[in-house]
Symmetry: C2
Subunit: 299 residues, 2 copies
């Protein structure tokens, strides 16, 4: 059914816990589960890793902070504590934490990503956007309620359209990739942008590609999705068919964009930093997965 | 490329305006554009319609409120004014406004949906979630900035996974549909739920179907997406393959769920309220579009 996808799923997805959402509304059961529960060891939002490069868990007892209920595994409840401060710096993903994350196995990465997104949201949403009064931790950490006006607030998930743009030709097609000024030298990746109110995913793909590179996109095809916890994106990976090769780059959004041949993409994906054409996005990024998919689809 | 999709796109998508995002950061140009601009006529969030059932626009001059810049068409700027109060009542979609929206052509529906989502967000986000102080309208209405801590806030778009679950069999497959207590009698529709932090779209489909109906889902395929402005959902429509027929319904979330044969789905879609099997979702809902797609894919 449908198109073949690479065996590997994008990083951060694939949930190892049963989120057991019926327990979120049951404070008594949640309190009872804390007794034998496991608490994720974090320094603010940075995970502690053991010698095998796995997340470290401790006992929950005696913790006097807001505890997010992450879910159940092997009959035990998993929790994470809300830190005093969040981190909304997008460049954070480039910092030392990134080395730690590269060592985590897929299930730990998914767990950490979930915890990080929800904890960061709590730390940065202590007040009610409607009336300005304090909000209170609710539903095991999956909600905050205003103490004054009663408004309910839910963790944000911000959908982002991220797209390969293909110009079909006799050489197996060319791909439009771009780079931001903050990228490492020679790095190119998929164009991307937040889906705005009033847009379908397909609308957002067409708008972003035209805004950033001046290329009109016709057909749009969904490929894969990925939660991205810096701080709370849902990356929606697509392939768009470009209708022309001419570029008009908006340098306020991206530093450069170029069409790459299939051979150049294949070389960059195979050789990593030794590639002579460009540096491909890192393995954890859905853009890497999209490029893998494209090479498999267009052999 | 990819699977065939029905000729009709889901309602509320397909953007008739050039959002011209580069103008959002240019207050002088935005002010100049107001002179010849068009203002959407609304009573709070309810649109005014003319005799042909189209949105009504007036001049912008002299309006002393926050004006959201919706975009350009035929060289003219389009605006909408932020009302004093928003509306986060999900049942709102069932009320008289729904009759008005049924009369709007597709391009007006897309415009109204965008305006409604952004205006409602402004009305309910006058304060900073980080520090509780007032926020200020910014970037032509696509941002609010905290006057105290400087935090930037963006309109919410909340992704929702909405899915047909198919159990393949020799009769052309059966579909799992459910109903909420607030639905009109005999109405069944696709199961749905918000994508949570740390989940891919596929993760969310599998979790929701198991939570609500007790059915494990294997393969998940994306079908179509739709912006849904009550208040700001991005509906992501999928098909999931169910691995068993046995149901365990969570009656705190849905009132009922049932497997329907292909013949029952075809009858409900063809006969509307005269159907003897069930009442299909209304044309504006992406669930309607998904059912159309499914019948075309499984002739």
């Amino acid at each position: 059914m449908g198109a073949a996808v690479p065996a590997s799923e994008p990083a951060f997805g694939g949930q190892p816990l049963d989120r057991a959402d019926h327990l979120r509304t049951d404070p008594k059961q949640l309190a009872a589960l804390q007794a034998g529960g496991r608490l994720l060891k974090l320094d603010a939002l940075v995970p502690e890793l053991d010698a095998d490069g796995r997340l470290v868990w401790g006992p929950v007892d005696g913790i006097d902070v807001e505890l997010v209920f992450l879910g159940l595994a092997e009959g035990r409840a998993h929790f994470a504590a809300v830190p005093d401060e969040g981190n909304d710096d997008p460049a954070y993903a480039q910092r030392p934490i990134w080395g730690l994350l590269g060592r985590l196995p897929a299930d730990d990465l998914a767990l950490y990503g979930t915890a990080r997104s929800v904890l960061d949201w709590h730390a940065r949403h202590k007040f009610c956007a409607r009336c300005g009064q304090p909000t209170r931790f609710a539903k095991g950490g999956w909600q905050r309620d205003c103490v004054a006006c009663g408004a309910q607030h839910f963790p944000r998930v911000d959908p982002v359209a991220i797209m390969l743009v293909e110009y079909p030709d006799e050489f197996g097609g060319r791909l439009l990739l771009g780079r931001q000024a903050r990228f490492p030298p020679r790095s190119y990746s998929a164009l991307a942008g937040f889906v705005e109110p009033g847009e379908s995913i397909e609308d957002a793909v067409r708008r972003e590609v035209f805004e950033e590179a001046g290329v009109r996109v016709g057909e749009v095809r969904y490929i894969a999705s990925q939660p991205w916890p810096f701080p709370s994106q849902l990356m929606v990976g697509c392939l768009g068919i470009g209708e022309s090769l001419e570029l008009a780059i908006d340098t306020t959004e991206i530093e450069d964009a170029r069409w790459f041949t299939r051979a150049e993409v294949a070389e960059a994906m195979a050789k990593g930093s030794d590639s002579t054409s460009f540096l491909a996005p890192p393995r954890q990024a859905i853009a890497h997965h999209l490029l893998e998919w494209w090479l498999e689809q267009r052999p």
